[in-house]
Amino acid sequence: MVEASGATVGEVFDDLVTQYPGLRSQVLTDDGDLHRHLNVFLNDDDIRYLGKLDAKVNADDTVTLMPAVAGGSGDSS
């Protein structure tokens, strides 16, 4: 668990990748959007439904980053 600052999830991510530059490519695309293989929760809510990187963050909120878990046979038969 780490601490980061920002008024929005996007600002929190900017602070996070400033602290940990190696995380940038895992969290954000080259365009600065959220990586689609990453699920991000603001407390209990998926930020996809809260405005994504524009979601407002309050002090003591928890932002949880989790990789998407997916796959499948892909079999077309």
């Binding site: 293989h37 699920n39 929760f41 209990d44 998926d46 949880t64 989790m66 990789p67 998407a68 878990v69 997916a70 796959g71 499948g72 046979s73 892909g74 079999d75 077309s76 038969s77």
Partner: protein, 133 residues
Amino acid sequence: MLRLSRDVYRQMVGHCLDGLPLEACGLLGGDPETDRASLCYPTGNAAASARLYTVDPRDHLRADRDAEGRGLEVIGVFHSHTHTDAYPSPTDVAQAPDPTWHYVLVSLRDVAPVVRSYRIVDGKIAEESIVLE
């Protein structure tokens, strides 16, 4: 090696059978030091497909928090293949999110489910034994 409690095994296979005709998925919680999965977290398949699975993100969050609250971790994922072998597909390999996890495949192609476990690291698949405890 993956150690599975019998309860986890039954819950896992049961969830996969219940998911037919679609692929079902879930997470395994346990101790990464001993590779023992003592918790089964059946999750929703957000892809709702007979060929693809996506662990419902909210179910993943719940499982992660529950495991952490018990001093454990999510140590793997299971999913079913409804018509193909219990072997990771190219899709499974390409999207494997964590090289430390166990990847369990449950094939429902035949009447009797076939369950196998693998490690997937840097695109390489290595089968591992499953020990029921």
